[in-house]
Symmetry: C2
Subunit: 305 residues, 2 copies
Amino acid sequence: MKTIVIHEVGPRDGLQIEKSVIPTATKIAWVETLIGSGVDVVQLGSFVNPERVPQMADTEQLFLHFTAPGRTRSHAAFSALVLNEKGLDRGFACGVDYFCMGVSASDTHSRKNTGMSTDEALNRITAMAKRASAEGAKVQVSVQSAFGCGYEGRVPPKNVLRIVGRYLDAGLTMISLADTAGHADPSQVEDLFGTIHDLAPNVVSACHFHDTYGLALANCYAAFRAGVTSFDSAVAGLGGCPFTAVSGGNVATEDLVHMLQRMDLRHDINLDALTAAAKKAEEFLGRALPGKIHVTGPVPELAPV
Amino acid sequence: MKTIVIHEVGPRDGLQIEKSVIPTATKIAWVETLIGSGVDVVQLGSFVNPERVPQMADTEQLFLHFTAPGRTRSHAAFSALVLNEKGLDRGFACGVDYFCMGVSASDTHSRKNTGMSTDEALNRITAMAKRASAEGAKVQVSVQSAFGCGYEGRVPPKNVLRIVGRYLDAGLTMISLADTAGHADPSQVEDLFGTIHDLAPNVVSACHFHDTYGLALANCYAAFRAGVTSFDSAVAGLGGCPFTAVSGGNVATEDLVHMLQRMDLRHDINLDALTAAAKKAEEFLGRALPGKIHVTGPVPELAPV
């Protein structure tokens, strides 16, 4: 059994903020490259209003393509983000069996993002997650803005632990902490995940870091130290807003996998394929992207003399 | 007593590989800004052959300027790198009281860099360090290529521990491990420093990381976790070769200090002054430099609502 899971979120968290809508055929070819690299899960999209987020309008099509009956299934799993019951219905209708959903620990962020307070959103998401689990799907529930928030600043750990407690009460044990604004520091990451694992050793924890302030890889290492086993990342460091000084892309999949391979983990993942996927993304978006290893290549493997 | 020491090496490790020679007056104004930030030690230069490394030819002048008798000494200490006895003589002649010197754990790197095997260099450096200590100077001895080497690949820990053992036998306890090629990964960093601290609890350890493969901040965190207390860094991420795809600058001082401040350490250091110093370096070198926080600014400090 693999001890570390790479959850590629580029096709969702990477593309959702892009100005341009990437054609479905381009996405399919790109996702094929991502799958070919050997990453474990690819998040294909989210079931949101296609008029508000046209970048995600083809999410059904992608699931139908990659999970069609009769198609030889690859090793990879495919996940989708859902925000509400309607999204969950749409997901089930096209065969999704792995759902991600979450609540912001920052009340201000929650209200701005969903129109609901954290508590209202928590009631709704918990009910959705229980329903999806009962129908046999894999469900990962997350706490967004788990470390810091652009509106509220530092987020107190107790606010996060309260949400985690509610998830656990509902029997939900795949739990992700997301650093939506890129504010997390590695001490904070190690402390908060450490506390959760101490309180609930049955939790299968995941992390989601943005590199807004250059701390994403350090935070991934801290999460690893604390026993986190699932890592969200986006190839080439996609995500965040490309039009501001403070670029907040996800941790780059190729940089994360390179670090893990230097740590003697996940040698089964093909870094060349990730580099190819990063370069494809640079090509279809028409600009350089922040990931490092797709530019430098990995540390050369030399036989000691 | 400060638990974490920031050792700014930009004026030495940052400038020594630049094509252009920065005028002494420009360096002085820049170092004043660096001192003003509150970093603990500034490495002003190295005593090497001025014909081979003209960028370091004014090292005496810088020491005479910053450590002149009668000048009000700032909080900051000033260090110099020395490679041989002649350099040590030059250092003493201009009042240096803090010397850094080292040996490469990679025999190939040592021979290419110094014309000596690791063992020959070790004999020489150990004798120099003993002499400098006996004359009352502070001495930090380092192991270069302590994690990996562009010629030899992974460097076995036992090769590093052998050199550290020789330093300890000579009574030298300020010991730095340098990741010259940027190959280190955080697990390796934590393991190796952990082993050293277990073997020799009296060691005051320092680290020196290059960001060639994006791992410098993660490695700094790993070193911190292992109990390292002194961190080399160069403002703006100066250093390495700016003319290759694989840019290997030092960890950027502003990025390191920002991470430490997020970890509730070293709030006394002025990040604005470091940002100003980074921008000055971009100005006198005429190009953008790799550090991140001097571009993004720090995570905004907001009062929780």
